[in-house]
C-alpha cells in the first residue's frame, strides 16, 4: 500500500511517459493494476490538457503598446543609454506626416523618443499654464516629468452610476442585470444603456462620463473602453496620468478636457468641446484644440478643423452637481476653474463626415 501511495504520487511524471517506458521506469506498475489505472487516467488528463487550444488576442496588441510607449515619458534607461535625439524638437513630425515619413529608418529610429519628448513638453505646458509656452525654452528636469503611467495602471476606487434616465444594465455573473442610479461597480465592469436611456458615470477621481442611449463600455479609473455608442467625457486633469479612451479604431489620450466620442462599425468620430486631446490611429497622431474634431477608421485619421457636433445636452443626463461626484482623495471636490461650455440644442446627429460612411 505504501508503494502504491509513492507510485501514485508520481502519477503525473509517469503519465508523461509512454506506458511501456513508464512500466520500465516503475516496475510496480506491472504488478499493480490500481496504480496502472491511476497512471492511465492521469495520462488521459494530460493529453486533454495538451490539446487545449491557443487563444489569440482579438487584435494586434503591439499597436496599442507602442502607442502608449510613444506617449509616455521615456524610461530612465533610454535617457542613459540611447543617443538622445537632440534634433527631435526641431524635427518633430508635422501634423500630417508626409508619405513615406516613417519609411525612413533614420527618422524612425528617433520617432518614438521624439514623440515621447514632445508629449513631455506638452504636459509641462499644461501643468504650468503661466509658464512661457515656447517649447524650445523648456527643459524639463526628471522631477518635473509626470510619473510613469504604469506605476498605477489599475488605480483603486469604484465607478458610480451617478445619474440614470431609462434603463441600463451591467454584465455580472454571466448575465446582464439592471442597474440603478447611485449604484457602484468595481472597475472593469461592462455597462450598457438601452435605447432611449442615458446615464452618467462618476469615476473615482471625480471625472465624469455621460453615456448616450444604446451604448456599451468598460469603465476603469484611468480609461474607458467604448465598444459602441456615444459618450461625453469630462476628465479631471491629473499630471501624473494620461486618461485614455479606447475605441476599436484607436485611442484618444486626454489631457484634461470635455469631448464627445461616437464609436460605430464604420469608424470613430471625436468632437472636442473644450481643452486638448491627442488622437492616435495606427501611427498617425493628431492634436485637437477647442471645436476641432477627428474621424478615424482602420489606419486613416482625418482632422476636422470645424467638426459637427456629435451630441446635444438632451443626449445625456443633466449636469451632476459637484457634491454628488465623489472626489479623489488627493484633489478638492470642485470641478475646476474652467467654465463648462454650453452645449447648443442642435440636432443630435449631424451628417457623418467623409470617411465614415
Amino acid at each position: 500500500m505504501a508503494e502504491c501511495t509513492a507510485v501514485q504520487a508520481r502519477a503525473g511524471e509517469l503519465a508523461a511517459l509512454a506506458p511501456e517506458r513508464a512500466q520500465a521506469d516503475e516496475p510496480h506498475l506491472v504488478a499493480c493494476s490500481a496504480c496502472r489505472d491511476e497512471v492511465a487516467r492521469t495520462r488521459a488528463v494530460l493529453r486533454g490538457l495538451d490539446r487545449i487550444p491557443v487563444t489569440e488576442p482579438s487584435r494586434d496588441l503591439s499597436a496599442s503598446v507602442m502607442s502608449r510607449i510613444s506617449s509616455a515619458p521615456p524610461p530612465a534607461w533610454l535617457a542613459k543609454s540611447a543617443p538622445r535625439p537632440t534634433v527631435a524638437p526641431r524635427r518633430a513630425p508635422p501634423t500630417e506626416p508626409p508619405p513615406g515619413f516613417f519609411a525612413s529608418m533614420n527618422v524612425r529610429a528617433f520617432a518614438l523618443p521624439a514623440a515621447g519628448l514632445a508629449l513631455v513638453l506638452a504636459l509641462v505646458v499644461l501643468v504650468r499654464p503661466s509658464a512661457d509656452s515656447r517649447l524650445a525654452r523648456l527643459t524639463p528636469s526628471p522631477s518635473a516629468m509626470p510619473a510613469v503611467e504604469s506605476e498605477s495602471p489599475l488605480p483603486g476606487g469604484e465607478v458610480t452610476l451617478a445619474k440614470l434616465t431609462g434603463r441600463a444594465s451591467a454584465f455580472d455573473e454571466g448575465a446582464w442585470k439592471d442597474v440603478a442610479e447611485g449604484q457602484s461597480f468595481p472597475q472593469g465592469r461592462r455597462l450598457r444603456t438601452e435605447p432611449g436611456a442615458k446615464a452618467s458615470l462618476a469615476l473615482p477621481d471625480g471625472s465624469r462620463v455621460d453615456v448616450a442611449a444604446d451604448s456599451e463600455l468598460f469603465a476603469f479609473a484611468d480609461r474607458i473602453r467604448l465598444r459602441r455608442g456615444r459618450a461625453r467625457f469630462d476628465i479631471r486633469h491629473r499630471p501624473e496620468r494620461i486618461f485614455r479612451v479606447l475605441v476599436p479604431d484607436g485611442e484618444i489620450r486626454v489631457l484634461g478636457t470635455l469631448f464627445d466620442v461616437e464609436s460605430r462599425p464604420q469608424g470613430t468620430r471625436v468632437h472636442l468641446l473644450h481643452g486638448r486631446l491627442e488622437v492616435q490611429c495606427d501611427r498617425a497622431v493628431e492634436r485637437l484644440e477647442d471645436g476641432e474634431g477627428a474621424t478615424f477608421s482602420g489606419t486613416k485619421l482625418t482632422k476636422l478643423t470645424a467638426a459637427a457636433p456629435l451630441a446635444t445636452s438632451d443626449d445625456f443626463p443633466p449636469a451632476t452637481s459637484t457634491s454628488e461626484v465623489p472626489a479623489h482623495p488627493d484633489e478638492p471636490t470642485s470641478v475646476g476653474p474652467d467654465p463648462k461650455p454650453t452645449i447648443d440644442a442642435e440636432p443630435a446627429k449631424g451628417p457623418a463626415p467623409t470617411g465614415l460612411q
Partner: protein, 187 residues
C-alpha cells in the same frame, strides 16, 4: 528583425533602437494573452493586463538580467499583474460564458490528435471539458497547469516564472491533476 533572437532584440532596444520592441510584443503577445485569458477568465481584462505587462517590461527593460530569458521575465511580470487583479477581486467582472461572447473556442480538428472520428470527437470533448475544469482551479494551480500544458514550459521555467521552488511546481501539478481527475469523474 523578426528572425533575431530575444536577446538581440532586447540588447538593441536598450541601445536606443526602441522600435524593435514592437517585434518583441508581436512575438510574445499570443503566449502572454493565452496565459492571461485563462488565468483571468475575461478576454478584455486579459488584453488590458497583457498590455500593462508589455508596457511595464519596456519601462523596466534595463532590469531584465538575462535578455535571453526575456520571455520568462515578461511572463513573471504578466503573472504578477494578473495576481494583483485577482487579489483585488476583479476576477468576476465578465465571466467567460456563451452569453458574454467571450467564450474560448472549442479546439478545431487541427488541434486534435490522430485517430478515428469518434476518438477525435471524444478528445475534443475531453479537452473542452478539461479547459473548463482548469479555469475552475484555484489561481495558483491554474497558473501552474497553464504554463505546463498550454505554454509547454519546463518545470524549471515554471519555477522561475512563478518564483517558487521546482518541488512546489511538481506538487502543484500533482494536486491539480488529482483535482481534475476527480472533477472529470463527476461529469
Amino acid at each position: 528583425v523578426d528572425g533575431l533572437p530575444d536577446a538581440e532584440l532586447v540588447t538593441q532596444c536598450l541601445a536606443g533602437r526602441t522600435e524593435l520592441y514592437r517585434s518583441l510584443v508581436r512575438r510574445h503577445q499570443t503566449r502572454v494573452f493565452n496565459f492571461l485569458v485563462r488565468l483571468l477568465r475575461q478576454r478584455e481584462l486579459a488584453e488590458d493586463v497583457a498590455q500593462e505587462a508589455f508596457f511595464t517590461a519596456y519601462a523596466k527593460l534595463d532590469t531584465c538580467k538575462d535578455p535571453a530569458l526575456f520571455y520568462v521575465w515578461l511572463m513573471r511580470i504578466a503573472r504578477n499583474r494578473a495576481f494583483n487583479v485577482l487579489r483585488r477581486g476583479r476576477l468576476d467582472v465578465v465571466p467567460l460564458t456563451p452569453a458574454s461572447g467571450d467564450t474560448i473556442e472549442v479546439p478545431d480538428e487541427r488541434s486534435i490528435g490522430e485517430g478515428s472520428a469518434e476518438g477525435q470527437l471524444e478528445a475534443r470533448e475531453v479537452a473542452a471539458e478539461l479547459e473548463k475544469r482548469v479555469m475552475g482551479l484555484p489561481p495558483k494551480y491554474r497558473a501552474t497547469v497553464l504554463l505546463r500544458h498550454t505554454e509547454g514550459r519546463s518545470y524549471q521555467e515554471i519555477a522561475e516564472i512563478l518564483e517558487i521552488p521546482m518541488g512546489t511546481v511538481k506538487f502543484r501539478l500533482h494536486r491539480a491533476y488529482k483535482l481534475l481527475k476527480e472533477r472529470l469523474g463527476k461529469r
